[in-house]
Symmetry: C2
Subunit: 145 residues, 2 copies
């Protein structure tokens, strides 16, 4: 397992809007307009599986995931938070942290499932307006994590 894989998109690019980073992890906001407030906690080096990390590294990664989750719950009051480490297409460890809302296009299905309804444009616009402040709150929480 090399530190970087030149063929891996998450080794080459941030993978979204950079919000915070340290030597081991970065947090980006996903470019997913239908799911505002969707962040990813991405390992800086190229590792495929969660169990490839040692306990301390997993605890650090999960502390960052939880810090993001807490800010999303406080600022957006989602119906549910969805967490996932999948990586079938990009086997570079990253956690999806997704706030879900009863009006979102896929709720209660996972965002990878079938759309249940058209997106609610007014709700999306209202949440999109919160994103710059949300990014700052996420970065501040990660500094403290």
């Amino acid at each position: 397992m090399s530190a970087h894989d030149p063929a891996c998109p998450l080794c080459r690019e941030p993978g979204g809007l950079p919000v915070w980073q340290d030597a081991d992890w970065r947090v980006i906001r996903a470019d997913e307009p239908a799911f505002p407030g969707f962040y990813r906690v991405v390992l800086q080096r190229h590792v495929a599986e969660w169990s490839d990390l040692d306990t301390a590294a997993r605890q650090r990664g999960m502390a960052l995931v939880v810090a993001v989750e807490r800010v999303l719950r406080e600022k957006l009051q989602p119906a549910k938070i969805n967490l996932a480490a999948l990586g079938n297409l990009v086997p570079h460890l990253h956690w999806h942290v997704v706030p879900r809302f009863a009006d979102d296009s896929h709720f209660p299905q996972p965002i990878w499932g079938s759309a249940q309804r058209p997106p609610d444009a007014a709700a999306l616009a209202r949440r999109a307006a919160l994103l710059p402040a949300l990014d700052r709150a996420v970065a501040q929480a990660l500094d403290a994590a």
Copy 2:
């Protein structure tokens, strides 16, 4: 947040084949014939979000998830492990631990996405034959976790 919610299916029933449990967590094998070796790590009490748990409880839950993941990687050699805590339909904390294979019906899409091909009956039968021994290996790893 009460300890049990009589309306919650994961408060009323194991939610799959019971494989292991202690006072705080249980591990079941999911009744998903298309995804053999799919386990769930389920909190015994009714809590919706991962960040509702304190750090020690999260570390314990994740140690169980990782123990299951390690057994699946060793015994099944999947293409990828998928981990997820979603709970939109059943907001009772549970982690999905899903071994994924290049021949499975949905790979590389998430199992909640669209089927990519018919299931490979021979591969499913081969893996199903491993499940009793896999359950025992999972239970043994959880005893040691």
